[in-house]
Amino acid sequence: MSGETKIDEAKTDGPMNGELLSLEGVGKSYGTVRALQDVSLTLRAGEISCVLGDNGAGKSTLIKIISGLHRHDEGTYTLEGEEVRFDSPRQALDRGIATVYQDLAVVPLMPVWRNFFLGAEQGLRRWGGLRLDADGMRATTREALAKLGIDLHDVDRPIGTLSGGQRQCVAIARAVHFGAKVLILDEPTAALGVKQSGVVLKYVTAARDAGLGVVLITHNPHHAYLVGDHFTLLKRGRMAGSHPRAEIGLEQLTTEMAGGSDLAELSHELARPGLPDSPSDPLSDSLPDSREERSQP
């Protein structure tokens, strides 16, 4: 798999090379709740940047700022060298930022192809674009999914009939298809079983290999470490750490995320990676071609 070389490229290149997006000291309050303060993050093309944190740490708030759903109150948001401040998700989308939200990814009762093209529908030229090119969109949906290795023949199924993992995959394929430069995923594996998480993470790496910059939100350090190039830790709205992959191991990442209290229990789990009760193990088995996460310390 080409993942290995991609990372090395990203590492050896200069820090400014391929820099897509950077946040500098960003903060956001909901009324009196300070959901986020002084958070910085940089994303390059062909890189997966993971944001980790417990529930309520501000992960979703952070990506809602990036994707234009909320505006930041403090700090700067730079996209391809230009400072931006989005008023709507439409503006962010037009700049190539596609988001798969934790809570609002798709419209369940609509067919897969209608969801795939929602907000970017294709019209027929000879109708002046007025009439939908339904057959064309069906075919394109099938192709775009096939390109990421998803074989879904019946794109007329309501998307709600797909499993959670499948829906995430469709959303990822959609972002890649519409030429997104930045793909943001809010806890794509949170509600999924081990196998399905594996499938989703595969498509995440496929998107990265297609040259997208990916921001992956998760509270699962094992999932993050399988695919991530950079790790940002959030704790109660503040940055609690920011490490490139070279500087941190899975154990340390888990330790930092857990803080002090759950530490003993977690290190206990991690000390026996071969046993079935270890959370990271079955997943890495189902991902034979993912990076060698256990060769790290």
Binding site: P89, R90, D103, V106, L109, F117, A120, G149, D154, V199
Partner: protein, 348 residues
Amino acid sequence: MSSPDLLAQDGLVQDRPAALRRILARPELGSLIAAVAVFLVFAVVAEPFLRVSSLGTVLYAASTIGIMAVPVSLLMIGGEFDLSAGVLVTTAALTSSMVSYQFTAVTWVGVLVSLATTLAIGWFNGWMLGRTKLPSFIVTLGTFLMLTGANLGLTKAISGTVSTKSIADMEGFETCRRLFASEVTVGGLTIKATVWWWLGLLVIGSWVLMRTRFGNWIFAVGGDAAAARAVGVPVARTKTLLYLGVGFGAWVLGQHLLFSFDTVQSGEGVGNELIYIVAAVIGGCLITGGYGSVVGSALGALIFGMASKGIIYAQWNPDWFKFFLGAMLLLAALLNAYVKRRAERGPR
């Protein structure tokens, strides 16, 4: 990149769907069966029901509901209600009549002012909804009450009675009547102008819903407004346009009432909004939005037309009409919930 075995286990590899299953998941299926059943019942119990002249009567009754059921069903698929739709029809007729009578002697002026008025009220409903984020039930309940009061109050203030003065002798009346209230008779079958309006709205409405980008947006804003907004669909604008559609339907029907009877009773229309909603629900629209069909709403209107006239032909007590409607509504709502669950499960 892909590993087929994994995908197969995950269910990502699908079988071809069975065409039959697909048909069973259509939203209008229930209303089609119900329409056939109602037709058969009255065909058996009411001898005059099958006469050609009765068909014209039934179609006319259906069209006066169907004209409104088209935009109301689109609005419901878009996830909203319009409780003001019934009295808005009366407002349309009153405005047209009184503007013509008070300010000019040309009916066209009133007709156009009436169109502007109904569209403005539709826009107001949509704007209030988008601005206040209140449920449309509340917003349009407010407009419903305001319009009910204004219809009576303004009519009494202007004409001194509860009905408008006749405009039958005005310039343009005959042309307007031809447009909104004429009828053609072909071999004993009398077809009123409303039937053509209904068919036109039906074709356009269904085409827009199924074949255009805007139709895609209607499904999306009704199915999940937040998800739609996140992918760039203009949610508030879509809903406002749907309210404008209701305004347009009310204008057409209002003009029909005015030009078939010359005068308008200002208290009319109250309660009809529920009939439109019932027709849409019988036609397969989910109360919660995001699912339904315009063709279904037409079948719903047809069921109404057949039942209201069939009860008379069968010489049953017409008091039972409402009972019948209520039962239909409950059945339809249950069926819709079932079809929706089925659709969500999909043709496996």
